[in-house]
Amino acid sequence: MVATLPDRDTRSSRTRPALIDGDFHNELDSIKDLYPFLSRRWQEHIETHGVRGPQGATYPRFMDHREDARPPSGRVSGSEVGHSAKDYLDPYNVAHAMCIPLTPAGRQLNFDLDAALATAVNDWQIAEWLDPEPRLRASIAVSTENPPAAVAEIERVAHDKRFVQVQFGGRPQEPMGRRKYWPIYEAAAKHGLHIMSHAFGSYGNPITGAGWPSFYVEDHVGPAQSAQANVVSLVTEGVFDHFPTLKFISVENGFGWIPSLMWRMDAAWSLLKSEVPHLKRLPSEYVREHVYLTTQPVEEPHKPQQFVELLEQFGDMVDHLIFASDYPHWDSDDPDFALPNIVPEEIKAKIHFENGRKLYGL
């Protein structure tokens, strides 16, 4: 939502229920924020050669971050932990928020630079976010396309239990269930970490199954389709049979598509299971056990009753919905208005707090 928020001072943070936020962005003001955590060699490389991902694979964003979330210092919104705490965590009584750093780490064609950046991002998160603010948890930045480096980075930081998940982009180079990524899943499972995929990005493949679309609005509608292809791949490749404790969290992809996807997967499997005989159970059973979804951007039916019917279709998957604000991005959801009023309070309480508490062991 772009609309200005109501005056937060009229609401008392002490009387409102606590919130757990599955998508809170800790931002870099610039890549120079990472220099204290990068060797001189990589600082000079970045100064001279820049960072370099697949070119022509991005759609310029509509707007940058919410202007009302900008710190008085003038730095980028969401780039100062103290200001984000005062501006968002305090007034909304956020008990815990999951930091998801959107940085050049994980997107570099130069694997050595990518690994150095991932390490720097994680050290930066510890020093600038987790140490000063005990309400925060974080996602481990890794070189997803270079699994040996990703595993080494997970091993380096996993002892710090404030890291709760390993971060993927929305559109990795291959569907997320492919064997290439299994070493990352093995390391995550070993340390009790979840796998989280945050929407957007491209590692060079066109961002639709029919080539490159034209407009940012398409990039912004499309994550629902990329997320589905990732869920289908994770289930079909047998990732959840091999790593039975692993949880997959889809972030910023919406969630209204999951009932239809589960029906489609089961119906197709009833005809094609001889191609995938390694799957021991109905595809939807793997989804119900292993897949979690954060809410933002919440699908908005024109009739609120249809939202209730959508949640009925979820059945017990309602326990796998985690509130997410996407603070401080332009399209972030306000906790007070994200879910329609018609949603029963006990379901809201699950989405706003209980489901996240259980998933992250908080």
């Binding site: 639709t208 199954g209 609005v217 009932p259 239809s260 089961d266 094609l272 951007p297």
Partner: protein
């Protein structure tokens, strides 16, 4: 909310009027096209490794490719020159590859008044542009000679080399005058999204000739079917195809195709339908936020979709044991005009539309799906 109706034995099986909006007929053999191919290509197919567009999107021996009895007897067709592998040859002639089989199993069923041929002939797989044109033209001429001119209950879709839009337009111009052609077949998987300005000349020709655009399951453009590249299994491609349909709709609406060509009608063939309401909710929300990027799109995308887009009824993805859920989703579509009954012969789907959906709907709504929506769309 649609009230559940008492169950009863209505529908195609009991002789209600039916228009079958999608029958996927195949070429029995590239030899069948020889009378319609230039000598150069006949010689080429006869003497080189090139046998025409011989791949099938559905693996030919898989449980979904051919229902029992849909393959004609081997004696009825020429030797399978297009069966590149021993396995394909062993399976016998392709399913739905003779008019006799389609008459027996589709057209002569009780109540069937007409059927629309939606051929999956993959000329989009041919990177050689001259071959793509030659085989598209030969296929369309074969459709006229062997199907449309012999069977008045059939209508058909023009096969075009969509990878080269100018040549696709030329092929539409060449055959659109035949009254049997009521639509143009476009694969849902394309090199570029179909709303792209690259293709606007194709949309213009489709609208000018008062044809329907059938965006069909499948396509062989060579680029990957998901934003994350190639999945390992056909099962995944099959499930993920709904996402390709969704992104094509996003693009067609965002590019203003329906604003530029206001009488255009698009049918999504074998896309499924339960994914569409959530997609429209998301798309409308994003349009509210981002419509200044596409200022020609004057109304919520869902309004364009309800007005211009139709869907065949399969695969009817829904929980097997709970008709209420599917009725909710059909209600969420927000229109009784969008769904078209289709047998999708010879393909196999998990759900029986009569049992899973139609018998639970009010009769007036079920009648629209069985025949009236298609009758209005195709002017039958």
């Amino acid at each position: 909310m649609i009230e559940t109706q008492p169950t009863g034995g209505r529908g195609a099986a009991t002789g209600q009027a039916v228009i079958d909006a999608a029958v996927h007929n195949e070429v029995p053999s590239t030899r069948a096209l020889f009378p319609h191919l230039p000598d150069y290509w006949v010689e080429h197919v006869t003497n080189t490794m090139f046998k025409g567009p011989t791949e099938y999107y559905y693996p030919q021996n898989s449980p979904i490719a051919a229902r029992p009895g849909s393959r004609p007897p081997a004696d009825d067709v020429a030797a399978p020159i297009n069966a590149r592998t021993r396995a394909a040859a062993a399976a016998g002639p392709p399913p739905a590859s003779t008019l006799g089989v389609v008459r027996d199993q589709v057209l002569d069923a009780a109540g069937v008044q007409a059927a629309i041929l939606c051929s999956p002939y993959p000329v989009d797989s041919l990177h050689n542009p001259d071959a793509a044109v030659a085989f598209a033209s030969a296929f369309n001429d074969w459709l006229i000679a062997e199907w449309l001119d012999k069977e008045p209950r059939l209508r058909a879709s023009i096969v075009v080399p969509i990878q080269i839009p100018d040549l696709a337009v030329r092929e539409i111009e060449r055959v659109a005058g035949h009254p049997g052609f009521v639509q143009v077949a476009l694969p849902v998987r394309t090199q570029h999204p179909l709303g792209s300005r690259i293709y606007h000349s194709v949309w213009e020709a489709i609208e000018r000739h008062n044809l329907v655009a059938a965006v069909q399951f499948g396509g062989m453009p060579g680029n990957p079917p998901t934003p994350q590249g190639w999945p390992s299994y056909f099962y995944e491609e099959y499930v993920d195809m709904a996402g390709v349909f969704a992104t094509q709709l996003t693009n067609i609406v965002s590019e203003g195709v329906f604003d530029r060509f206001p009488s255009l009608r698009v049918v999504l063939v074998e896309a499924g339908l339960t994914w569409l309401p959530a997609h429209m909710w998301r798309f409308d929300k994003e349009w509210k936020n981002l419509r200044r990027l596409i200022p020609w799109v004057k109304r919520p995308p869902s309004e364009y979709i309800r007005e211009h887009v139709r869907l065949t009824i399969q695969p009817l993805d829904a929980p097997a044991d709970d008709p209420k859920r599917l009725l909710q989703v059909v209600d969420h579509l927000g229109s009784e005009e969008m769904l078209l009954y289709a047998s999708h012969f010879p393909r196999v789907h998990a759900a029986d539309p009569e049992r899973t959906l139609l018998r639970h709907l009010p009769e007036s709504f079920a009648r629209k799906i069985r025949s009236e929506n298609a009758r209005a769309l195709y002017g039958l």
